[in-house]
């Protein structure tokens, strides 16, 4: 299989082209810009189109229009720009339109900094815009996963008629790694028999989520609630690394999951039963991963690049049956494997001789 050296952002862009994405609407913002640049160069060669919007709001609404016709469409941004897209995302979720969105998370709040961050976790996983909805959120931890998860994102979006988010950070976006340019997996997806593409030979269609009658609106809400509950049950994904016999556990996604793997190997070399759960879907949060270990694990270190956000979901998943502590860096800084291993040893008073 073809193997090439690509930046994480470029891997997302290449996967989008190979997923049949024909339209990209975006606006440049560091550290996500390589996505729009790569697509500007390569999407036209594949018969597609990149249109740079006047702003992030225009870009997400252009995605809205394109998705309404049944086309595969994507946009990408970074934290401050992602904030501007929230109105559009709420409308995409309400109108049940499949769009793939990328947020290359940079430090915040405010204008923030350009370094890697996970400070948008709440915004990305709890809705973000107004109203009661969720995005499916996929969190890659290396360039290959930027590629693979993007392909999966398009299929999930079409399967559920819902916007799907790839959430990564500037570290993953900018880092070059060899990746296999896998072909798009064959997946059976529902027909887009709802698309507004001209009513020749059929009844007119409308795509709208607006209701001025409360009874009608409640009906819509119940429909969305059922759909999101179904996704929550069916689509939880995670990676386990030495987790089955672990007494102590790291939980980290994206870059943190990657760093935690090194910490786990160091701990195992010391004879400590340490493992990792790396959430792949941040929503739905992989609570199923915690069910088998919640009565046996002695302590959990949640590794995050924020002031502690995913830790709330970890505590809920473990039903507070084990202590969960936060180990974090912020503002674009990354923890080392020693830093997070020390946090585990100190917080849980683990003597290194314990397991030897």
């Amino acid at each position: 299989m073809e193997k090439v050296l690509l930046k994480g952002n470029e891997a997302i862009a290449e996967a989008a082209i190979r997923s049949g994405c024909k339209l990209f609407f975006g606006y440049p913002i560091t550290p996500s810009t390589e996505i729009v640049e790569y697509l500007s160069k390569n999407l036209p060669k594949a018969g597609g189109l990149v249109l740079q919007g006047e702003d992030e709001i225009a870009s997400i609404n252009m995605c809205h229009g394109a998705a309404a016709t049944g086309a595969r469409v994507m946009t990408a941004s970074s934290s401050p720009g992602y904030s501007l897209k929230q109105e559009g995302l709420s409308n995409l979720a309400a109108n049940e339109l499949p769009v793939v969105i990328v947020n290359i998370n940079r430090a915040g709040p405010g204008l923030g900094g350009l370094g890697p961050s996970q400070a948008d976790y709440f915004q990305c996983t709890k809705g973000g815009g107004h109203g009661d909805y969720r995005l499916i959120v996929l969190a890659p931890s290396k360039a290959q996963e930027m590629y693979d998860y993007t392909m999966n994102a398009f299929d999930l979006a079409d399967k559920y008629r819902t916007p799907v988010l790839i959430l990564a950070d500037g570290f993953l976006g900018q880092m070059m790694e060899p990746i296999e340019l896998k072909e798009r997996p064959a997946v059976e997806l529902p027909a887009k028999d709802w698309a507004t593409n001209g009513c020749k030979g059929r009844a007119k269609r409308k795509i709208c989520s607006y209701a001025l009658t409360n009874e009608v609106m409640e009906g819509y809400c119940l429909q969305w609630e059922k759909k999101f509950a179904g996704i929550q049950q069916a689509e939880q994904q995670w990676e386990e690394f030495y987790a089955d016999d672990a007494e102590y556990l790291f939980v980290g996604y994206g870059t943190c999951g990657r760093i935690a793997k090194d910490a786990v190997l160091k701990a195992r070399a010391m004879g400590l039963k340490v493992g990792l759960i790396r959430p792949i879907t941040l929503w739905p949060f992989p609570e199923k991963a915690f069910a088998p270990i919640k009565n046996t694990v002695k302590g959990i270190v949640c590794v995050e690049l924020n002031a502690g956000q995913m830790i709330e979901d970890v505590k809920l998943a473990i039903e507070c049956k084990a202590p969960v502590v936060l180990c974090n860096r912020q503002g674009g800084m990354l923890p080392s494997e020693n830093y997070i291993l020390d946090a585990m040893l100190k917080n849980f008073n683990i003597a290194i001789s314990e397991g030897v």
Partner: protein
């Protein structure tokens, strides 16, 4: 018996929800007739953002997409770029296109986006109950300008079509009114031309239609028409504001 008048095929049989005396219905009918006459009902996708035009989804016989407030032209851009051979139009109020949607209004014109926009200008936010819009006239009383629009504080009304006409990508810009039978005929001509411009792929076309809002103006339907003539027409430049060379031949 010979049938001399009927409902246009461009409209569904859903009754309009508009207030008595509001001229929205006339504008809808004109668009519906144009869709029928150009035989493009089945090839057209309409976009309606928030406002009194937001109910258009039910009234037209073509496919329709609802958009967030002000975002209709960005949504229409996405549709047109995905389906360049289809006809795409927006119908939006002045409180939408000339306020929260201004950035998109400017940039669809700048890009020469091959869509048609119909702006319904009634000089206020109608659906939310008559608040001041950027198009509200000097001294006009609304619920958020209860002492009359004070131009020293909030500036003077924006004549959006004039601004749009300065942009190269906008090849046809007209401002019309539906206050008299004669003006209704002229309005239809302008709307038809705006769709023909798109059929030929010539560029962006905007038609602003002055419209009454008896409910929020606090006037009878007849007095509203008089008020529109006496107050709005002198402020807003009327007629064909821009007919690019390539459009002249239509």
């Amino acid at each position: 018996m010979e049938k001399v008048f009927g409902r246009t095929k461009g409209l569904t049989d859903v009754p309009f929800h508009y207030c008595p005396g509001c001229t929205h219905g006339i504008i809808h009918r004109l668009i519906g007739e144009v869709l029928e006459e150009l035989d493009i009902i089945e090839d057209t996708i309409g976009v309606a953002p928030v406002g009194c035009t937001g109910f258009s989804l039910d009234f037209f016989s073509c496919d329709f997409v609802g958009a967030a407030h002000g975002r209709g032209q960005a949504v229409a851009t996405g549709i047109k770029r995905a389906l360049p051979d289809k006809i795409v139009f927006t119908i939006q109020g002045d409180g939408d296109i000339a306020a929260i949607g201004t950035a998109h209004a400017i940039h669809v014109a700048a890009r020469g986006e091959k869509i048609t926009s119909i702006m319904v200008n009634n000089a206020l936010f109608g659906m939310t109950g008559g608040q001041m819009a950027p198009t509200t006239l000097a001294g006009q009383v609304t619920t958020t300008s209860p002492y009359g629009r004070d131009c020293a504080v909030v500036g003077t009304p924006i004549d959006l079509p004039k601004t749009i006409a300065t942009l190269n990508g906008a090849v046809y810009v007209a401002a019309v009114s539906v206050d008299t039978p004669k003006n209704i005929m002229q309005a239809k001509k302008a709307i038809k031309k705006a769709f023909q411009v798109q059929q030929k792929g010539l560029g962006y076309a905007l038609v602003s239609v002055l419209s009454t809002c008896p409910t929020n103006w606090g006037l009878s339907p007849v007095d509203s028409l008089k008020w529109l003539r006496e107050n709005m027409m002198p402020v807003y430049q009327m007629g064909e504001l821009k007919v690019a060379k390539e459009v002249e031949a239509l």
